[in-house]
């Protein structure tokens, strides 16, 4: 009787279990793109010691085997415990590094490792927009993003700087590397939807069947 009570309490309270819950599988996502990369170049006149004299705005980055980088792959249907890994974005060399960051709702660590004035100006609707200066002596700033949303990151001082922040409702996500590959581990078994998002090429979804202890591969081809 006590055990039943305990079990029902446990069910009601829904304490999150450890991340590597039993029964998780791996999803390997590959994203390709048939078109040409889009990298816009601009001559730079400000803070040239840190920013160089030319800036590159990477909008579509295509690597080996037509792999599309900077794509956010996630499994929005899967629920799980929040990740412990801290989300960080650095303003380095007058670029947002990484260009695309994925995180769960919570705090983002913003770093300024350049020795110049940067600022964080976000464009979002669900989360309130932020427009804050990050001077050189403020090397770390923490900002909260509580609601799932894709947020654009800019710097007003260096107008070519562009980044993206994907605040996701699920802990199961990864960002594709230069080759277009991303691996998401410990995804709960069962039918799941995998979603990929790219800043200019849009979103796509596919159904997958995740089996515990196994890897399922899913590929997407983005179109213009």
């Amino acid at each position: 009787m006590a055990a039943a009570l305990l079990a029902s309490v446990a069910l009601v309270v829904q304490r999150p279990g450890p991340v590597n819950a039993q029964g998780g599988g791996t999803v390997e996502v590959t994203v390709t793109y048939n078109g040409a990369p889009v990298i816009e170049k601009l001559k730079v006149n400000k803070d040239t010691e840190k920013c160089g004299t030319e800036a590159a705005i990477e909008k579509v980055v295509v690597g080996g085997n037509k792999g599309l980088a900077n794509v956010v792959a996630s499994v929005p249907t899967a629920k799980g415990a929040p990740r412990m890994v801290k989300a960080t974005v650095d303003q380095h060399g007058c670029k947002f590094v990484p260009h695309v960051t994925a995180m769960m709702p919570g705090e983002l660590e913003l770093k300024n490792s350049d020795d110049i004035l940067h600022n964080i100006h976000t464009y979002s609707t669900a989360n309130s927009s932020i427009n804050k200066a990050q001077p050189k002596f403020k090397k770390v700033m923490m900002e909260k993003f509580e609601k799932p949303e894709i947020i654009k990151l800019t710097c007003d001082v260096h107008s070519w700087m562009l980044g993206w922040l994907a605040v996701l409702p699920t802990p199961f996500f990864a960002v594709t590397d230069a080759g277009g590959a991303a691996k998401i581990e410990n995804v709960p078994a069962g039918k799941q939807t995998v979603e990929v998002w790219h800043e200019t090429l849009g979103k796509q979804t596919k159904e997958v069947d995740v089996k515990a202890g196994q890897t399922v591969k899913v590929s997407f081809e983005m179109k213009k």
Binding site: L117, S129, N131, K132, P135, K136, F137, K138
Partner: protein, 584 residues
């Protein structure tokens, strides 16, 4: 038009002599003298805050991006280094506090309240309860303004001029509640000032003692009368403007936002239509105070009393039609710019007239260099410099270069500090004996005056230089610009002088509080002055005089008159014989 005896008697009857508790005597008093003291304390308290903010601004300009001493406790994230957005907040709040919560409360609030009934021979203001409300509404505005320092996002940071759309769209500054509180606070303060203005105008028109004709009124009363009219007519425009700004920020209107069909320049027109009369509101009482103090310590009448009164009226009239000189390069039609140049050049004339009349008062005088007199002389001389620098900006082509540079900052501070603040100091030292029943300490008065005068000039005169050099306003790091680097040493010089200027105020604080409690008890008329307030006790009791109000027989500045063996002749002294036609 002399005072109606009926009103005076009604006051005596109504007040009765029932004991008022602590709250009715010291907190919610309807006695104009207590309200005056309340305004004075509020203004002096806010001056400390406004002054500290100025020192923060000055630190940053001299030594950009270094830790400001004393701020590491507050600016914990950066160890005391001011961020650019915080710098913008610092100068915005420095100006807002000094203009709205220091100069106006001290000159118009404190001395308007104290001097008007006493110097026209009335027992109190026409509307004592309204008077009490005007202080407390003003104090509420002060609380609202200070609250803005504690909200997330920080305080307003768009300049005291708050130009739209920077101020109208929270995202552009990252400031949310701070700027909203700024708007609300000024809205509330506007109500306070309008209440006060109604009171002053009504009292001066209706409650003068028998014999106190308009042209026998002391010039400080003239100045406060004209100031009150300006307040009454200008503040509604500001009040409406800040309401519109608040609506743009919070209710989705687009008065000033082009994205919604609004017009940024509309804000500037509304603001400066108020703003220019506002600066005359700031200086006119100080001019009145100088005109009051100079004759007393020169022992001769003010030179050109009528010219002095009429020139203040002229300044007030003209103040409505010059405001566009703040907008010469704003995008406003250049043809309008042409018109505003004409009017702006003209408004220099009445100020020139006043300066020459003050000089005329000094001519042939017997000058006594008391502490109030020193401050009044400082007012005259510093105001001249401020006025002359204004001529540069009145010429539209020259203003193209000068606008938004430190030349303007120099001009502003010569007129509001060199002018209004020295006027306020003069008034405080002069009327302290009557207000508080005690004399201030003369040595401390000199220890305050001389460093203030010297360091004031060392701080603000070089700003003309760096302004001519092209240093823009509201930047925090001049070293970012190659064309400014060669004059950075002036910024360091100015900052060091400013800190010395700050230190120079310590004798004033000490003097003020020490004299309040331990100063020598003041006699009835320590300065041998002619005006009515010196016939009431020091300090005057409730209702100011005994059963009979004073009667006035002559003008206020009959010093060294041949009709008297003394070198003074009070307004209330009955005439010796009916001899001779006298001018007043």
């Amino acid at each position: 038009m002399s005072a109606t005896g009926a009103t005076a008697h009604a006051h005596v009857g109504h007040a009765g002599h029932h004991e008022l508790g602590f709250i009715r005597t010291y907190i919610f008093s309807t006695d104009h003298k207590m309200i005056a003291r309340q305004f004075l304390f509020m203004g002096l308290f806010m001056m400390i805050i406004g002054g500290l903010l100025a020192l923060v601004v000055r630190w940053e300009l001299a030594w950009p991006e270094t830790a400001v001493p004393g701020l590491s406790m507050i600016l914990t994230e950066t160890g005391g280094i001011l961020e650019p957005s915080q710098y913008n907040m610092a100068f915005t709040m420095h100006a807002t506090i000094m203009i709205f919560f220091v100069i106006m409360p001290i000159l118009a609030g404190a001395f308007g309240n104290f001097c008007i009934p006493l110097m026209i021979g009335a027992r109190d203001m026409a509307f004592p309860v309204l008077n009490m409300l005007s202080f407390w509404v003003g104090a509420l505005a002060g609380v609202l303004m200070l609250a803005g320092f504690f909200v997330p996002g920080g305080h307003a940071a768009a300049g005291w001029t708050s130009y739209a759309p920077l101020s109208a769209v929270p995202e552009y500054t990252g400031v949310k509640w701070g700027q909203n509180l700024w708007c609300i606070s000024l809205f509330v303060l506007g109500i306070s000032s309008m209440m006060g203005a109604i009171n002053y105008i009504t009292t001066i028109i209706n409650m003068r003692a028998p014999g106190m004709k308009l042209f026998r009124m002391p010039l400080v009363i003239w100045s406060l009368f004209i100031t009150a009219i300006l307040l009454l007519l200008a503040l509604p425009v500001l009040t409406s403007g800040v309401a519109m700004l608040l609506f743009d920020r919070t209710l989705g209107t687009s008065w000033f936002k082009p994205s919604g069909g609004g017009e940024p320049l509309l804000w500037q027109h509304l603001f400066w239509y108020f703003g220019h009369p506002e600066v005359y509101i700031l200086i006119l009482p100080a001019m009145g105070i100088a005109s009051e103090i100079l004759p007393v310590f020169c022992r001769k009448p003010i030179f050109g009393y009528h010219a002095m009164a009429f020139s203040m009226i002229a300044i007030a009239f003209l103040s409505w039609v010059v405001y566009g000189h703040h907008m010469f390069v704003s995008g406003m039609s250049p043809a309008l710019g042409m018109a505003f140049t004409v009017t702006t050049m003209i408004i220099a004339v009445p100020s020139a007239i006043k300066t020459f009349n003050w000089l005329g008062t000094l001519w042939g005088a017997r000058i006594r260099f008391t502490v109030p007199m020193l401050n009044a002389l400082a007012f005259v001389s510093m105001f001249v410099i401020g006025g002359l620098s204004g001529i540069f900006m009145a010429s539209t082509p020259v203003d193209i270069y000068i606008q938004d540079t430190y030349f303007i900052v120099a001009h502003i501070h010569y007129v509001v500090f060199g002018g209004s603040i020295f006027g306020a100091f003069a008034a405080i030292y002069y009327w302290f004996p009557k207000m508080f029943g005690r004399m201030t300490n003369t040595v401390l008065g000199h220890l305050h005056f001389w460093p203030t005068f010297v360091f004031f000039n060392l701080t603000f005169f070089p700003m003309h230089i760096i302004g001519v050099g092209g240093q823009m306003r509201r930047i925090y790091n001049p070293m970012q610009y190659e064309f400014l680097q060669h004059q950075q040493h002036w910024n360091v010089f100015i900052t060091v002088s400013a800190f010395c200027l700050g230190l120079g105020q310590i004798p004033f604080v000490v003097n003020f509080f020490w004299s309040l409690f331990a100063g020598k008890k003041a006699p009835l008329n320590p300065w041998n002055s002619n005006t009515l307030e010196w016939t009431a006790p020091s300090p005057p009791p409730h209702l100011n005089w005994g059963p009979t109000l004073p009667t006035v027989y002559r003008g206020p500045y009959e010093y060294s008159s041949p009709e008297s063996r003394d070198d003074w002749l009070p307004q209330t002294a009955p005439p010796v014989t009916a001899a001779g036609a006298r001018r007043h």
